[in-house]
Symmetry: C2
DNA sequence: TTGTAGGCGTTATCAT
DNA sequence: ATGATAACGCCTACAA
């Protein structure tokens, strides 16, 4: 790997001049510039980002922390983020928090150690307290996919989405409502709210399921579906969680959507390609990724004066066979 | 961010002594060590990996290049790689080649610029010529998921797997065989070989499909299935490619597996959770990820004398409803 | 056991 | 326009 010092020696100019030529910002003698560029080309010069990052400069590294890389939604987000980052000469460092707050915290250390220029975080918990460690960071950071009070965020409102799903399922004539996910999830909060707004007695009509054993959970849900007269509206925190349930319902001969109307989340390729097709809340992955990266780069380069950002993007409820009445 | 120099100033020892204490390799005065550690703790010292990487040291960065992060197989691989890397104090840089040879080549530059200690590559094309740019790298690199002649690789034999699928589908009584994928894919080569070994006249009985428009392709396949008497054996290069076909077949009322027996690849969660369940070739993702990272770290740390590595892991053909006779 | 000195490759500052 | 020089934070000699 040839260095600027080496190019300087070979072309008979000083090292800073080489630097100036290669960065193209200051003015240099055209003839010297030509020689330097020629030499750089010939030896395949590559700037050493490590050295560049050392004395206070940019590393052009962007850290990305997600709970689970293999979840299709996050995988898609990462693809978009990587794509937009690459267009802007940024390289991404990936960290998997594994839905574990402690692991998430450890990422702070690594981000500091590698002097990433910024961080995009899909937090395990969408509340500011759980993120207080990140306040230590001396570089800009922002949350995506969720909205956190007092923290720059790019998101769709999961609560709103949950509400819309409630409205939709109620309209399909569902009498009972099952939610698959955790209680603190904003989707649940919104789902509940939405049902209450419809005058549905949530304490008697809404049930929540969350079992690590997906097959067992699916069986339980099927049983609960079969026990009740009337249509059941089922809403899962993501498409992946919905799959075993669909599977179990089909095997048990439960008719979809007549007996059980289903809605997932994230609108991954799975939902489009399943039979039956699954209704799902679609997050604007590409827009969210692009927006997050651009906003981040703005913060990295720009004046600190950037106003706090709380960008809500619109989710779309894509209605497919699994909940079409 | 406090530095070793600063700690040295505060504790009244020299900077190298601080370095020695924090790295714990050389012997130091216990009392001085105590003071240094206390000070480091108090100020939350974090080593600057950038500086450490500069003078020939390790950056502890591991580059990973895949064709498509959002493909569930690669997403799973990345999760395993990240997990094993993290256990070994490595951080990963992610690059998406987008199935594009030119983009893949560009990664070489970035890996050099960031002085990654090594590279794990899932190549777009599994041949040495397409990878000649990577020979420039001064750090160890190896291929995973595919086998490349003359290059360190960790893989399952796609050709063998293709052969086994051919055998399996022939046994189920299929008379015609459809392959969904590209011609140069080793899976196709193996599939073809396997059929020939069964005495099947591949020129008349084997058909290959590869259309960017997945819906159109699926419709065409359904048409071709319906046109023929006898069972069709269908093998797709991955589960994702199989989905639209399953969908179209079900909608057209084609019976699975009686009329069309299907086998996918990668054994992603989709195949388990679809109805019908999909047969699929399972790659040992966890083992492959672990093995690749460990072998890589061995190369990074160890003597160059490491022998070339061509590690073949065993794929397993998981037979489910979609091809159970 | 410890400190001094030098260097990694770059950018920034200051003269010239 | 350009060259010296210093600095970034760390590590590896080498000397004491």
């Amino acid at each position: 790997m040839i260095t600027t010092t080496e190019i300087a020696r070979l072309t008979g100019v000083s090292q800073p001049t080489v630097s100036r030529v290669l960065n193209g910002n200051a003015s240099v003698n055209p003839e010297a510039a030509r020689k330097v560029l020629e030499c750089a080309r010939q030896y395949g010069y590559q700037p050493n980002m490590i050295a560049r990052g050392l004395n206070g400069g940019r590393t052009n590294l962007l850290a990305v922390v997600v709970p689970d890389i293999s979840n299709p939604f996050f995988a898609d987000m990462i693809r978009e983020i990587e794509h937009e980052a690459e267009k802007n000469q940024y390289t991404i460092l990936i960290f998997n928090s594994d839905y574990n707050i402690e692991k998430e915290k450890k990422c702070v250390r690594l981000i500091q150690q590698y002097h990433a220029d910024g961080l995009l975080l899909a937090p395990v918990r969408a509340n500011a307290k759980a993120l207080k460690d990140f306040q230590k960071l001396e570089v800009p950071w922002m949350v995506f996919s969720n909205c956190v009070e007092g923290v720059d965020s790019v998101f769709v409102s999961h609560r709103d989405a949950g509400k819309r799903v409630a409205l939709h399922l109620a309209k399909t004539g569902a009498e009972y409502f099952f939610f698959i996910g955790e209680e603190h999830d904003p989707k649940y909060v919104g789902f509940r709210e939405g049902l209450m707004e419809q005058g549905i007695l949530v304490d008697q009509k809404l049930f929540r399921f969350w079992d690590r054993e997906k097959e067992r959970q699916a069986k339980e849900i099927v049983r609960e579906v079969q026990e009740r007269n009337g249509r059941i509206g089922i809403f899962a925190i993501n498409d992946v969680e919905l799959l075993p349930v669909v599977n179990a319902l089909l095997l048990a001969g439960v008719r979809i959507p007549e007996k059980a109307a289903l809605v997932g989340f994230d609108n991954t390729f799975i939902s489009r390609r399943m039979t039956p097709n699954l209704s799902s809340v679609s997050q604007p992955v590409e827009e969210m990724g692009k927006y997050a990266v651009r906003e981040m780069i703005g913060r990295i380069c720009g004046k600190k004066s950037k106003p706090p950002c709380h960008k809500e993007l619109l989710a779309e409820l894509v209605i497919r066979d699994s909940s079409k009445l």
